[in-house]
């Protein structure tokens, strides 16, 4: 069975094609059934291939299948080759499992939407692209998936395109991503020139063979990271992700939390040989990750839109994953990616469930006390919040701890400190969200309250499953303090990921670090408890005391405005000026000027043209006489 692993991405592709061409004539129920089935089949084949991979002989821990050669031209070669190695296996399982659950959830969430069929078509297309991205065996094919998910993200953010903001957000996402893609493309070019191929195996050999000079490695790694920063919403290209919340909530959960935005992390982990070799690039990744983690967390503090808080939280968590990759703990970064996929999609889906119950209300200030109305939403939400805050024994705790411990072990104390600070903020804003939404006074609009209802099982069951994974997914990668060989996750990835240079900490230090991170998490929760349940006047006082800070945070540091003022507007204005003054005046002016000159000369000369036959005859005769004269004398 494992030899059919290449079918994994084809199920959603076939389904997309059917839905796109014949969707109009298919019954609604069948459309969603087929869409879910396709993703489920991918998951099943993923599991089968995963088991096959486990049983494979040591050293043959990768499946590979070339479907056909795609582009060959001179030195340029890209094949349609899929592979399935441990890293791919993790990604495929996460994508197909979370994807499947979100597809199921969408059946309920989108049930009243007129674009129901279109939605499932896009979702299937997305799943296909994402699977291509993670199963590609070379960078060019990966780029196909990379752009494909970008396209789906564009389509799904702008799903409700009648809304101005949604259409604008989709376009913004695509263009900002394209900036990253330009860097990615250049990185691919450099690899092609220096390595001669973009297959991961070839690159690996070239790097370990020492063909590349350190400067080149750094350059390539940084260019690829530009691409990763675009896709995974890191500084300075994160601006599209908060706006992306204009899309339907399942989209936010699948694309903008669990899968697509982690593509950058996956790519960095996939290219780990480069980042391991180039200390500079690794450091840049770690520092950008750490800065993003804390920067996004501060922006999440003051937002009132429930989905935007989660969006900033996603950016922040992606920052953690990059910290992991930057300090050489790729397995830890991927581990966090894996746990994050569960708890963040859980949080989004639960938030979607809240919105569903409140007729689309997003503002937390108009919620409160929902716990008793929506118990089946509340508990999963709470589990997700605990998991992301890093409270012990839920999945997020293990993965975040693994990253921070590694950062500390590498001696990157600055990054570690930022990470820890970010952890306090994470716990704080997550529980601020919980308390404002589910606890405290009811601040619902009366109209909204009338329609208040718990979501149907088709939505709450996926929540329950995701909650289960949010709790237990972390147990496949326990830290060393619990025992020597319990990090199954890291071991599984070992064939792909070059183990870092063993900076092992003493057990005592590890325990200390764990205690610190648990301490800050609890501290964050505690502050949130005081602020939003016990002494609710504190936040208001703070706002009054530091209006500047509040405004700055509330307006997200005015980054969007700054980008508009510094980049977008000058570009548009400048182009307009050039168009008016250069294109129309100088170039066209020159052309029209010479035409006008010719016309003027014609007019002057045409005064000889009297129109009287005799004048012509006279001139003719004189001309003839002159000519004869010239010939004769």
């Amino acid at each position: 069975m494992t030899e059919f692993f290449w079918l994994i991405p084809l199920f959603p592709l076939v389904s997309t094609a059917i839905l796109a061409l014949f969707g109009k004539h298919l019954p609604k129920k069948y459309v969603s059934f087929q869409a879910c089935l396709a993703v489920f089949l991918s998951f099943v084949f993923g599991v089968i291939s995963f088991i096959g991979l486990q049983n494979a002989e040591h050293g043959h821990a990768a499946l590979s299948k070339t479907l056909f050669s795609w582009i060959h031209s001179g030195n340029f070669k890209a094949d349609l080759t899929f592979q399935f190695d441990p890293l791919t296996a993790v990604m495929v399982l996460v994508v197909s499992l979370v994807g499947f659950l979100i597809h199921v959830y969408s059946i309920g969430y989108m049930s009243h939407d007129p674009g129901y069929k279109r939605f499932f078509t896009y979702m299937n297309l997305f799943t296909f692209s994402m699977l291509v991205l993670v199963m590609a065996d070379n960078l060019i094919l990966m780029f196909v998936g990379w752009e494909g998910v970008g396209l789906c993200s564009y389509l799904l953010i702008g799903f409700w395109f009648e809304k101005h903001s949604a259409a604008a957000a989709g376009k913004k996402a695509f263009i900002v991503n394209r900036i990253g893609d330009a860097g990615f493309l250049l990185g691919i070019m450099f690899i092609l020139i220096h390595v001669g191929g973009t297959e991961f195996g070839t690159i690996n050999q070239a790097v370990s063979g020492g063909i590349l000079t350190p400067a080149v490695v750094t350059l390539i790694a940084l260019l690829l990271f530009v691409g990763a920063a675009g896709k995974s919403a890191q500084i300075p290209l994160y601006v599209w992700l908060p706006d992306a919340m204009e899309g339907p909530t399942p989209v936010s959960a699948l694309i903008h939390a669990a899968t697509m935005v982690t593509a950058g992390v996956y790519m960095v982990a996939r290219m780990n040989m480069l980042y391991t070799l180039s200390g500079t690039a690794g450091n840049v990744v770690a520092v950008v990750g750490a800065l993003t983690a804390i920067f996004a967390a501060t922006m999440a503090l003051t937002q009132n839109d429930i989905k935007r808080v989660l969006a900033y939280s996603t950016i922040s968590q992606l920052g953690y994953m990059f910290i992991g990759c930057g300090v050489g703990a790729y397995a830890a970064g991927i581990f966090h990616l894996y746990t994050h996929a569960f708890f963040k999609s859980l949080l989004f889906l639960a938030a979607g469930s809240v919105m569903h119950a409140l007729s689309g209300e997003l503002n937390m200030q108009k919620m409160g006390g929902l716990r008793k109305y929506l118990p089946r939403t509340y508990y999963p939400f709470l589990i997700g919040a605990i998991a992301i805050s890093g409270i012990p024994f839920l999945s997020g705790f293990f993965s975040k701890d693994a990253i921070l411990t590694q950062a500390f072990a590498q001696g990157n104390y600055f990054v570690w400190a930022l990470g820890i600070t970010g952890a306090v903020l994470t716990a704080f804003y997550m529980f601020r969200l919980i308390f404002l939404t589910f606890h405290g006074k009811e601040r619902l609009e009366p109209e909204v309250k009338k329609h208040l209802h718990e979501s149907p099982p088709v939505m709450t069951i996926p929540l329950a499953i995701l909650a289960f994974f949010s709790i237990f997914a972390g147990y496949v990668g326990l830290p060393v303090v619990f025992g020597k060989n319990l990090d199954f996750f890291g071991k599984f990835l070992e064939p792909v990921i070059h183990a870092g240079h063993g900076h092992h900490l003493s057990i005592g230090t590890e325990w200390l670090l764990i205690l610190i991170s648990v301490g800050v998490a609890v501290l964050g929760v505690f502050i949130a408890y005081i602020f939003y349940l016990k002494k609710t006047e504190i936040p208001h006082n703070l706002v009054r005391r530091f209006p500047f800070v509040y405004k700055l945070l509330y307006n997200k540091y005015y980054i969007d405005e700054a980008y508009n003022a510094v980049i977008v507007n000058p570009l548009v204005r400048g182009s307009e000026a050039v168009y008016k003054h250069f294109d129309l005046k100088v170039i066209d002016g020159a052309i029209n000027g010479s035409a006008a000159t010719a016309g003027w000369m014609g007019k002057v000369l045409s005064t000889f043209q009297t129109g009287f036959l005799k004048d012509y005859a006279l001139i003719f005769l004189l001309g003839a006489i002159i000519l004869i004269g010239v010939v004769l004398f």
Partner: protein
């Protein structure tokens, strides 16, 4: 096989045009159907070229040669891997152009069809001529129907646009004509025989100082056609004013004549001049990429936006051509086809919008997607193909072009990559303003979605977009030999050596040894032995 396929596909449209003259002009649907059938038949005939084409050789195939006027002016046709697909592109698009004009053109339908058919003969003739005199005749003949297409069926400023177009093009081609006769004369002086044969001209080893002037004359004609910055201003005007069918042909095929001219004539005939001027040409191409992109960003008229996007895309193609390496040339060739498909399709899309509301201004639209979902999907695919989304045709060409440029000059490539961002920015921004958002104009509420005819005209285009994006090998492999040969011609070692021996004031060219050099060498070796 002695069927003169090339002559048939070249002159079948002309014959049909002659036939049309004798048919009554009132029966427009009969005329349209007839022309559609003929163009489809022509396409089917041209497919035999594709299937019988041997990708393993760079020699011209399907050659037809006959005495004509004398004095070196022969009727000489043939295609190689470079012209094959351009011919196919022309025959492929023509039926679609006719379909797209089906309801758009309401007046003087007969004349319109006749001009379209003459235009097709001219276009195919340009691509298949191997005799430069013949080439020049087709080159100029093409201008006349286009002049009328814009001048009669155009928009408000049609006269200005069409005269500008003709004057621009004429200006360049007259210089080319002078250069052509200069070379003809040189060839006669050097050999004592007359020739306009392309290969004879290629085998002349000219003094580099003379080459520069000849190259400039040829290059100007082609650069105007491409159009390269700063000779591009006729394009937006011509596009904006031309009827849909005219725009499609203009963008898809006529612009390719410029790049084709560089590849076929200017570059292999004057390699030294090319090498000397390469940096300047590359910079012009690069400016074209960025300048076209920025100008497209701020256009208020959809058609002129697409026209400026052509300037940008053609700039990328030219830059890849000037990279002078295999990947760049092949990518440029491929991208020429892609540009023909995607920009042609975009103009059809704009035409569909225009037919419904009679405006091309972006601000008059908004929320069209709601009214026309099928059209929205097709329009988006065309835009994505133009943006270069992987899986569609644009990506294959774009990445090969960029890779070619990258190998030649990394700085240029880094600047050229901005096209990836700019293309997405101007096209998607336009798409958002036209298709998305709330419906602002009551007219839009009355827009019908695509009719069956309108969908059918897109089907072949979209199928090709996917095919060329997913399995480009079909096309690339047929080009290989010709691209290699072209590169060899430009960089031929013995030619460079011979030229380096030339005194700076030599006027008469030397002649390259006939192509059977290896045999001569073998004979010499035999004698030595």
């Amino acid at each position: 096989m002695n069927i003169p396929v090339l002559s048939i596909i070249t002159f079948l449209p002309l014959a049909c045009a002659l036939l049309l003259i004798f048919l009554p002009k009132e029966k427009t649907s009969l005329l349209k159907t007839l022309v559609l059938v003929i163009t489809v038949i022509n396409f089917i005939i041209s497919l035999t070229l594709f299937f019988n084409f041997d990708g393993g050789t760079s020699d011209p195939q399907f050659v037809e040669k006959a005495e004509w006027i004398g004095y070196g002016i022969h009727y000489h046709l043939g295609i190689d891997g470079i012209s094959l697909f351009l011919v196919l592109l022309t025959t492929f698009l023509m039926p679609l152009v006719i379909l797209s004009s089906w309801t758009y053109i309401r007046e003087r339908v007969k004349e319109y069809l006749i001009f379209m058919l003459i235009l097709q003969t001219g276009m195919i003739g340009v691509f298949v001529s191997l005799n430069l005199f013949l080439f020049y005749i087709f080159w100029e003949a093409m201008l006349i129907p286009m002049y009328f297409l814009i001048g009669i069926w155009g928009g408000k400023r049609k006269i200005y646009a069409t005269v500008k177009y003709v004057i621009f093009t004429m200006f360049g081609s007259l210089l080319m004509l002078v250069a052509l006769f200069f070379m003809y004369n040189l060839y006669y002086k050097a050999t004592g025989t007359y020739s306009f044969n392309l290969f004879d001209f290629q085998n002349m080893i000219l003094n580099p100082n003379i080459q520069i002037w000849l190259f400039l004359a040829f290059a100007l004609a082609f650069a105007i056609k491409v159009p390269m910055f700063p000779f591009h201003t006729w394009l937006p005007d011509a596009h904006v004013e031309a009827p849909t069918g005219g725009s499609v042909v203009l963008a898809a095929v006529l612009l390719k004549m410029g790049t084709y001219g560089f590849l076929r004539f200017a570059m292999p005939m004057f390699p030294d001049a090319l090498m000397k001027l390469l940096p300047y040409l590359s910079i012009l191409a690069l400016i074209g990429i960025i300048y076209g992109g920025l100008m497209a960003l701020i256009q208020k008229d959809i058609k002129s936006l697409v026209a400026y996007s052509s300037v940008s895309h053609m700039g990328l193609i030219m830059l890849a051509v000037f990279a002078l390496n295999f990947e760049g040339l092949q990518g440029a060739l491929y991208q020429m086809l892609n540009h023909g498909l995607s920009t042609g399709a975009l103009f059809i899309c704009v035409g569909i919008l225009y037919e419904r509301s009679h405006t091309r201004l972006i601000k008059d639209y908004g929320g069209v997607s709601k009214q026309m979902p099928v059209f929205a999907a097709i329009f988006l695919i065309c835009i994505l193909s133009s943006v270069g989304l992987p899986g569609l045709n644009g990506f294959v060409g774009e990445i090969l072009c960029l890779f070619g440029i990258f190998q030649a000059n990394q700085m240029f490539a880094i600047l050229a990559v901005t096209t990836v961002i700019l293309a997405a920015a101007y096209l998607l921004w336009m798409f958002q303003r036209v298709m998305h958002g709330p419906i602002t104009n009551d007219k839009i509420l009355k827009f019908p979605d695509l009719s069956a005819r309108e969908i059918i005209q897109f089907v072949p285009i979209i199928v090709m977009m996917f095919w060329m994006g997913i399995y480009p090998q079909t096309f690339l492999r047929k080009m290989d030999a010709s691209v290699t040969h072209l590169l060899d011609t430009i960089k031929k070692k013995e030619v460079i050596f011979a030229r380096s021996q030339m005194a700076p004031d030599t006027v008469l060219p030397q002649l390259l040894l006939p192509p059977d050099v290896p045999e001569i060498l073998e004979e010499e070796e035999a004698i030595i032995r």
